[in-house]
């Protein structure tokens, strides 16, 4: 058994495209049995453990925790102790020489000899992917390198495995730009494509344009458009001219827009940091906190007329402001809900800090109003307007979005009648508010109409039981239906 075996990212579901290694459960040198749990992987939906598809010894970890690879991507190499370390390394080097070889099967075995042959046949190229040639001195992307660089330069360097520390930055305070990286690579005799544009060309190799005959203008245009000169035929004479490149660019864009290729995404937008954080938090919440929902209808005619009276004096109190105030009082009244939970301890608070969901162009953000139970309605309305305006302008301070004991999400203005919300940890409950609707209700003297609002409370069952949630909602309803209580 001298085989070297691959451990690859498995395909756990139809929609699974990639996996991130979160934790290795065994170390290099450990022997493992078939079916043993060896590594934790996270997908866009779940975190799961990979069970060993065979018995062997882990010899080399290729993907450290935090590394994301497509399905079929190599995460480790295994072999019996009789296989020497050098052979494992040579196997790995052989794979590097043919980066497109691996996928297709979740598990793939090559015998040692094939691997060694592959390794010796390939010329030593530090980094050679799709026509990119990074000179030896510049190789080696390090995510943790302490280099001031633009976000584009970072992603560029990561993609082409370039060590940013080797590049001299020309930006403000020595910041490294994509141009700096390309200049450094080019001056060392390497080839690096234009940033961004080359994404569309990964399907056909981008060969070093320098070796082809083309006019300077054609060369510049091709470079800017991210088109490989090798894929362009010179229409007249020996040199590729500007018109040749323009035609190639035109053909390419027509091809890309053709409906036959409609399966391709029309746009690819990487997640912003705020969106990434939102995604991560909500995912964690939904996965770890056992959500359940309790809903209650509330009649708000009295509240609406009180609001009208208050606003006649120049205030602009909204129904949502009443909800915030009423929730704060209910939280103080039912302190079991006014808590934070970290999975171990329940922390209770004297005052209610309520997060108010605000939708911004950058995504949902929930700035927090502190000690709302101590604030008056008009102050609440001012504070909410201030926080939401500054949230949209991206000017909230870090301390304004941390913590809180409760959240309110209101989609009433979008015409939503009722909905469920996901708890924002470490909080344990969130109130989802729909639109106030005029409804016909049975009354003692025949049918009557009332403005009815549906409130849905999502609670974390680890901390809040159904009866407590119901008690909280009843308390909340009492304040909303007898709003004078809020003013006392």
């Amino acid at each position: 058994m001298n085989d070297i075996k691959r451990l690859d990212v498995p395909k756990w579901g139809l929609s699974m495209e990639e996996g991130t290694v979160t934790k290795w459960l065994i170390e290099v040198g450990d022997r493992f049995e078939e079916g043993q749990e060896i590594v934790e992987l996270e997908t866009s939906k779940i975190t799961n453990v990979l069970e060993a598809p065979f018995a062997s010894v882990l010899r080399r970890i290729v993907a450290e925790p935090g590394v994301t690879l497509p399905v079929g991507g190599l995460i480790g190499l295994c072999a019996q102790p009789s296989v020497r370390d050098e052979q494992v390394e040579a196997f790995l080097a052989g794979l590097d020489a043919f980066p497109d070889m691996p996928p297709g099967s979740a598990l793939m075995a090559l015998d040692k000899q094939t691997a060694l042959n592959a390794s010796s046949n390939s010329e030593p190229k530090p980094s050679d992917r799709a026509g990119v040639n990074v000179p030896t001195g510049f190789g080696g992307w390090r995510a943790d390198a302490d280099v001031l660089a633009t976000a584009h330069a970072r992603s560029y360097a990561e993609r082409f495995d370039i060590d940013l520390a080797k590049v001299i930055g020309t930006g403000r305070r020595g910041r490294v730009s994509v141009d700096d990286v390309r200049t450094a690579i080019a001056s060392a005799g390497g080839v690096a494509p234009a940033f961004g544009k080359s994404r569309v060309d990964v399907s056909h190799p981008l060969l070093p344009n320098a070796s082809l005959r083309a006019t300077p203008s054609a060369r510049k245009l091709a470079d800017e458009a991210g088109v490989s000169l090798a894929a362009i035929a010179a229409s007249s004479g020996e040199r590729i001219v500007r018109g040749d490149v323009e035609r190639a660019v035109a053909v390419r864009s027509v091809a890309r827009e053709a409906p036959e290729k409609g399966r391709e995404p029309s746009r690819i937008v990487p997640l912003t940091n705020i969106r990434r954080t939102i995604a991560k938090r909500l995912q964690q919440s939904k996965q770890t906190a056992p959500h359940y929902r309790v809903a209650m209808n509330v009649e708000i005619d009295g509240l609406l007329s009180l609001r009208k009276a208050i606003n006649a004096g120049g205030a602009r109190v909204t129904v949502n402001d009443f909800l915030i105030k009423a929730s704060s009082l209910a939280l103080v009244g039912v302190p079991e809900v006014n808590v934070q939970f970290d999975g171990e301890v329940v922390a209770g608070f004297e005052h209610a800090d309520i997060a108010v969901a605000v939708s911004t162009d950058a995504g949902l953000i929930a700035p927090i109003l502190r000690s709302v139970d101590l604030m008056g309605l008009v102050d609440i309305s001012r504070a909410v307007r201030d926080l939401s305006t500054r949230a949209r302008a991206g000017r909230l301070r870090a301390d304004e979005i941390e913590g809180g004991t409760f959240s309110i999400s209101n989609l009433g203005m979008f015409g939503v009648s009722h909905f469920d919300a996901i708890i924002n940890p470490p909080q344990v409950a969130i109130l989802a508010v729909g639109r106030a609707e005029e409804r016909v209700l049975p009354g003692t003297n025949g049918p009557r109409t009332a403005s009815v609002l549906t409130l849905t409370l999502s609670s974390d069952h680890r901390v809040i039981d159904g009866a407590t949630a119901a008690e909280f909602l009843s308390e909340l309803r009492a304040y909303l239906e007898t709003p004078g209580l809020m003013l006392s």
């Binding site: 120049g314 602009r316 309305s381 939401s388 305006t389 302008a393 991206g394």
Partner: protein, 466 residues
């Protein structure tokens, strides 16, 4: 259909459009409603087109004094329509520029008339005839002002003018009565006098340019008289009626002496009145003080979420004040660190009559009245080489410093292009420069600005050239 915005600005003048641009820059969803002209009065009927007309007056003056520099000119023809054409072309070009800027910054512009409704709603009657509802977290009122009228003195759009008609004359009036000698009245008096009209300037106060320092008023009045402008102070115009051979105007002096004047045209320049009607202010309870919307230093009105900037929020009714208030109001809303509000006393003011007038801060009388231990410095342009060389040595610079802190309390200037020079004092004041530091600043020679340096030296008792 209701469109939601973080900020809706009502009025597209220098206050409103600047506020909207800043708001959009800060990432707020911003709409602007303008009923007529982007750029407002300033750009379409005020600051800019008058400057175009006044440049014509400057050319007329240059032609008149050409002989002094050796040019003997024959009879000169003047076609006022061409000057008006130039003025309109400049205004229209800039209005297009404002539209471009708003679009570039992503501001939604609605052409129509806005009215406030409850709960942050704004009803817009679009000029196209449709109706639109906008919903806004914040609303800035920047609706500006319009010429004030007096009882018995109703502009008729033909012979009794406001600045609108005075900006687009079809012919040069032979004789003209200008009522009111503030910035607008003084500019028109100067303009039409230079173009060749016989001008009478009437002021109810005891001096022309009554908001300026007394030395400025006295100097300009003397200069106006020398040029042949008939200046009457402490005089009221009781009535103006259109008669067969002109407009018959009854002037009353303080001692009740009545004089009748017959003129071709009358310009009413007795201040402005805020555009607060039909905005729905009363229904919402937005407080108004003597015709202007009451605000605090950040433009907040008495109603939450409603703000007012510029002329509609009160004097001084100047474009640059409106723009600064707009920026201050928006930056405060968006939580920009270091946002600063407008200090009314530091608003610079310029009048583009001949000679020009430029000032900022307190007048000497005001500073003394406030109890400051003042040090005043003066310098006459008669001692300034550059002013003499260009034949425009008419004017002076006056500075007022607080002796205790060394702070610049006020600066007042009369003379050629002093409106361009004033910014030097503005920078000094905003940086809290003292007279000593100012005196150490090197002014290049020869410039009219050297008079600023000399005036400061004079306040320290160290003037070199007088």
């Amino acid at each position: 259909m209701t469109e939601r915005f973080d900020l809706v600005v009502i009025g597209g003048g220098p206050g409103g459009y600047v506020a909207a641009i800043r708001s959009a820059q800060l990432g707020l969803r911003t709409a602007l409603v303008e009923r007529k002209h982007l750029g407002g009065i300033c750009l379409n009927w005020g600051c800019i087109p008058t400057k175009a007309m006044l440049h014509g007056a400057q050319v007329a003056h240059a032609l008149k004094t050409a002989g002094h520099f050796g040019f003997e000119l024959g009879p000169v023809q003047f076609d006022i329509a061409k000057l008006v054409g130039h003025s309109r072309a400049v205004a229209n070009g800039l209005a297009g520029g404002v539209e471009f800027l708003l679009e570039k910054n992503g501001v939604c512009v609605f052409d129509g008339e806005a009215k406030l409704a409850r709960d942050g709603l704004v009803n817009v009657a679009l000029n196209s005839g449709e109706n639109l509802m906008l919903e806004a977290e914040h609303i800035i009122l920047a609706t500006g002002a319009r010429p004030r009228t007096l009882p018995g003195l109703q502009p008729d759009g033909e012979r009794i003018w406001t600045y609108f008609e005075a900006m687009v004359p079809e012919a040069l009036p032979e004789s003209l009565l200008v009522i009111g000698s503030g910035a607008i009245g003084s500019e028109f008096a100067s303009l039409y006098s230079d173009l060749g009209s016989k001008v009478t300037l009437v002021e109810v106060a005891d001096r022309v340019l009554p908001a300026e320092d007394v030395d400025v008023s006295a100097f300009v009045e003397k200069s106006f008289r020398k040029r042949g402008i008939d200046v009457r102070t402490r005089v009221k115009v009781q009535s103006a009626s259109v008669g067969s051979d002109g407009i018959v105007c009854d002037l009353i002096s303080e001692v009740d002496r009545v004089e009748t004047l017959i003129v071709d045209r009358v310009i009413l320049a007795v201040g402005v009145t805020a555009n607060i009607e039909s905005l729905g202010l009363e229904e919402l309870g937005v407080a108004v003080d003597s015709g202007f919307i009451r605000t605090d230093e950040w433009g907040r009105t008495s109603v939450d979420g409603i703000y007012a900037i510029g002329d509609v929020a009160g004097a001084p009714c100047l474009a640059h004040k409106a723009s600064h208030q707009g920026v201050a109001c928006v930056e405060r809303l968006a939580g920009v660190p270091g946002a600063h509000s407008v200090v009314h006393e530091n608003v610079p003011a310029c009048t583009y009559c001949r000679p020009q007038v430029a000032s900022l801060g307190m007048t000497e009388a005001h500073a003394r009245q406030r109890g400051f231990d003042v040090r005043v410095g003066r310098f006459s342009l008669k001692h300034n080489g550059k002013a003499l060389a260009t034949g425009e040595a008419e004017g002076f610079v006056k500075v007022i410093f607080d002796h205790r802190s060394g702070e610049l309390l006020g600066a007042h200037m009369v003379g050629p292009e002093v409106t361009e020079m004033l910014q030097g004092f503005g920078v000094a004041q905003s940086l809290e420069v003292t007279a000593e530091e100012f005196s150490r600043t090197m002014f290049s020679h020869p410039t009219v600005s050297e008079a600023m340096h000399e005036a400061v030296l004079d306040s320290l008792g160290r003037a070199l050239h007088q």
